[in-house]
Structure formats: C-alpha cells, structure tokens
Symmetry: C2
Subunit: 336 residues, 2 copies
C-alpha cells in the first residue's frame, strides 16, 4: 500500500501501537545517499534540538550498513529516502532495517522500484520533475524534506509532546506559496548569476543550522554532479575557523542566510564577505518572506525554501553553460 504526506500522522500512530509489544520506540534513524541524505537533515536537526527522549541518527546508507549503530533494532524507526527507489546502498539499508526488526518508512517518488518490498510504509512525496519548477504548482509542503520532518514531528507530538505542533503544520501549509513567490523574485538575479559564474571552475556554498544541507545538496548534486563545477560546503559557523583564509576577490561563494536561530551565524559571514570578497550570491530567507512562518518552527523550513530557489538558478546556469542538468559521465554509464 502506498501512502502520502497526509498519512504520516496515522503511520506513526500505527507504528507506536505495534511497537508496544516490544517495548516501544526509542530511536529514529534517517538514512540515504547524497541528495536524499541531505533532504533528511532538517528532520534530524529537529529531533536533536527539540526532543528530550529520542536518539536520532542521520547516516549515509553504505556507512549505516557497514557500521550499524548498536542501538538500532526493533525499537527503532528507520526512515530512508530514495528518489528512484533503486539506489543499491539505500535498498540494502532498508532491507537491513526490516531484518533487524525496525519499522521502515520509505520516502520515494517513482513507482514499482526495488526498494518497495523492503518498506513497511511507502510514502510517495510530491516532486516536480521540470528543471526549474517555475509555473508548476505542486505542493512543496508534501515533498521529501517535509515528509521526513512530519515523521519526526509526529513521533515527538504523539509521545513526549511538541508545543509547536500547530505552528509547524501552519508552516507546512504556507511553505509552498512562499517558495513560489521566492522563485519569481529570483528569476532576474538567476540570469545574472548564470552570466557571472558561467566559466567558474569552483564555487563554495554556505549555510548553517537546519538549512546546512540545502547548501550541501547544491554543492554535491548540482555544482559537482550536474555541472561538474568543483567546490565544497562550508558551515557558516566553521567558516571563521579555517576556511575563511581562502576568501579573496576572485573566490565565489553562494551564501544562504537563514531565518531563525542561526541567522546571526550567516549574517556574520555576509559582513566578512562584504569586506574581503567580491563574487558572492546571497539567498536571504527573510527577503523571501519566510518570517510568515512562526519563529518557533521557522528554522526547519529554510532548507525547503533554499532548495527550491536554487532550482531557478540551476536551470539558468545549465542553459548558459550549455551543460544540461541531466548530463553525466559516470552515473548510468559505468559500473561502480
């Protein structure tokens, strides 16, 4: 049976009921590879920062299979993300989860994939396959990132309690509109970005807090994978402890400025870049209107916003560089 985002509340309730027989649920593991791992990060940070009772892991699928935490087992929920459902390491992780008696929630998009047989609950998330998503009105409040967050929020709310449950779902109902608006806002600057950075050989991405991994995804999935542009992801708080020494007029940065508790970390980077760098692009969640979402939960919505704003930049960059986002030299082509 297939589920969707709105079923997650019931899925978590059913897992909690079923797990009573073995002593309940005491841990939640988020597992995936690359962009699918990155998309689970806001949910990981949510659990780490909001929960008083649960252990929460966030682990690359192959590492999870080779170095499985001793804690993982029948009292765990395993939530894996696998877009096409056929990433071998993530299929192996889900299979291991079932064998070890965990409740396995699979977040996926494609139908009929190999991972489906290894999940107790298959949740199909929303996704817009067009390259820049402009003009397409899918509900981003039910995408992969949000589904993972809902697993975390529901687990917390249905057991130890979560004071900002209403604010969270209010945010989930608003995020799609905020994203669509922000994407319209950046259309022109995305053109300018593509023009400016078309010939760059590397670009850094930067972010903090629960939105660190939208910077990570832009770095590894878009720049490295889809554009073959080198780079690295720098945590805004770590920047001043090593990385900032490479800052110079010709070194390009894309900086996310989050709305919420770690905003000050990102703003500090911006003031440094204003003094010592010349080539940087800023994505500011406040400018994009993310403060419409309540301050108690806004941290966890930055990732979705940035991730979906990047796609406008990405399609322009790919066009300008005449390097389609679907171009690969190894993936789908060689064995590895």
């Amino acid at each position: 049976m297939e589920y969707k985002a709105s079923d997650i509340k019931g899925i978590v309730a059913e897992i909690l009921e079923n797990k009573k027989a073995v002593g309940g649920v005491d841990s939640l593991y988020f597992v995936g590879c690359g962009g699918s791992l990155g998309a689970l990060y806001p949910a990981k940070i949510f659990m780490d920062n909001e929960s008083l009772t649960y252990r929460c892991g966030w682990i690359n699928s192959n590492e999870f299979v080779h170095a499985t935490p001793k804690k993982f087992g029948k009292n765990s929920i395993l939530c894996v993300a696998c877009h096409g459902g056929d990433t071998p390491e993530t299929v192996a992780a889900a299979k291991l989860g079932k064998e070890m008696g965990a409740a396995v929630i699979v977040l996926t998009w494609k139908d009929g994939s190999p991972i489906l047989e290894h999940g107790d609950y298959i949740v199909k998330y929303t996704f817009d396959p067009s390259v820049d998503h402009l003009g397409n009105k899918i509900d981003h409040g039910a995408d992969k990132v949000m589904c993972a967050l809902m697993v975390a929020v529901e687990l917390l709310a249905q057991t130890e309690g979560y004071d900002h449950y209403a604010e969270f779902y209010d945010g989930a109902s608003k995020i799609s509109g905020i994203i669509e608006n922000a994407r319209e806002m950046v259309k022109e600057r995305a053109e300018a970005f593509a023009e400016e950075y078309a010939d760059d050989e590397f670009i850094y991405t930067m972010g903090s807090g629960a939105s660190y991994c939208s910077a990570y995804m832009e770095n590894i999935c878009i720049f490295m994978e889809m554009q073959w542009i080198n780079g690295g992801t720098i945590h805004s708080g770590e920047y001043f402890h090593g990385p900032f020494e490479v800052t110079d007029a010709d070194v390009p940065f894309v900086l996310q400025i989050a709305e919420g508790s770690t905003r000050e970390l990102d703003e500090r980077v911006l003031s440094f870049l204003k003094r010592y760098a010349k080539r940087y692009e800023v994505l500011d969640a406040r400018e994009f209107g993310l403060a419409q979402i309540d301050a108690s939960v806004v941290d966890y919505f930055n990732h979705s916003l940035f991730n979906n704003v990047y796609s406008v930049y990405n399609s322009r960059l790919a066009d300008r560089r005449q390097h389609p986002l679907s171009t690969r030299r190894y993936m789908w082509k060689v064995q590895y």
Copy 2:
C-alpha cells in the same frame, strides 16, 4: 586544578557521583570550532555507534550557543575542545554550559587562557607544536582526540558498560608507536606529494566513518587555512552520489583508507579513482599497521593516525610552496 588524560576516568566518576542529586547524566555534547570540532568527531561516532542509552551531540560552538538543544542542561556533560583557550565562540559555549548546569570538561593545551574559568574540569592534552612532529616523542595516546574518546569510553563503561574497554586502552597504549612508525614511512612520499601538488589550486580530501573528520581537518585547517588551497571534504560513501562526476585525470584527491568497519567504502573509492583519476594520494591505515589494534575498537583510532601522518605531508608541502603553515591573512590580523 588541571588534569591530564589519565585523570579522565576519575573525572567521569566524580561527575556521575555529583549528578546523582539531579537525576544522573543522560547526554554528552561535544562542542568546538574548526579543527577542535573535527578532533571530537571520533568520540561522537563512538557514542552514536556503541551506546544504548546516551544522547550525543557534536556541534559547532556558535551554532550550539544560538540553537541550543532542548535536551541540554543539568543532566548533560559538555566536552569542549579549545586549543588556545581563547576562541570566543567556544568560551561562550563553555560559559553557557556552566550557566545551564551541565558538567563542563574543557580540553585545552595553553595555560592561563580565558576558557579556564568556565570549565569544571580542565584537561591538558599532549601536543607537539613542531610543524611535522618528526622525531618528537610525545604520547599521542593522550592528545585531544584521545582525551575526547576517553570521556565517551569512560561514561559508557562506568554506566551501561562497554565490552571492549580493555581493547580500547590497549589501543590507546599502541597508537603513539603506530603513528611514529607511519610518519617515518611516509617521509619520501610526502616529498613527492609536495612536488606534485605544489601548484594545485584545489584538492579534495576523502574519508569515512569515525575518520571522516581527519579528512575534514586536513581540508579546512591545512589546505584552506594554512596553504590557501581550495577544496572540499567528500565522504567516501557520498562520493558515488554526486561528487564523483567531477572526477577526471587532472582533479586531485587525498583518500584515507580506514582500518575497520567502513574500509570497504574507502576501497570502493580507490578502485574508482584507479580507473578514472590520475592524481590521487592514498593514506592506508592497514599499510600503516593500524590492525595491531583490536578490530572491536580500531575504527576509533584511524583519525589520530591519519591526522598525525598528514603533518609530515603538510610541512613538506609548506616548504615546497614557500608558504609557511603559520601564514594567515585574516586570523590574528583583522576583526571578524
């Protein structure tokens, strides 16, 4: 009062005794910035993988202060690392820890620093300030990385129990000798590395498992901070999910091959590099003799080994590039 590595067992015992009055210890947070954060990573992975009962955080100091986990408080141990004892964000983190009632362990090297007043226990670790450490015989079994590991191992062993306690301390007694031997082994190849990569503008570092952050430290503290060479840290398991698309004959990689449970992830990268890359340097813990340490604990010793082998490479690279490791353009020079 100042302590050293061999006092950590007693420190943890005292904390556990003192915390009985408030309900015991239920969480351990490792907090620091840059290289000091990286050095705490093996201890974080130890807790995540071995413990059944403790929550463990690993967080950049400024993020910790701005987005403090709800769980953190009087039932927590906060272990911060701060080499010079004057990193403002880490001083602030330790101060917050005391204010919130946590037991604060400060790992540091310098005397008389501002952080000392914010720690309940000041542990002075061993450190060799010479640039390549060759010929200097400090006990690496009592350095920053090992001190953090001991905090984790002792907390586990003295409460829920740890089956491989004896093997861990046997490893701690062997690591210094293994390191010294490995550093002698790489002297010539470090010269060759310096010659080959002297003019490169970026270099990737790669690793997995508990040793991921020795790759991170080499990337941010040495290449970026001390040599102004751009780059990024790639997790060996993540490499095949995006990053590998940049692989080409001219793209340089430094790959750590760990001894232990995630070795297969690193070896998989190596076989790919052998096919599609030409410029890569391999640090293989097995070749360096790390298998002398018992398989049950060896994962946690890779970081110390790699970190201390890198220093031989680093001094050669700095010499060859005529860019001393102490050169900075922003740190110690401008306000930020």
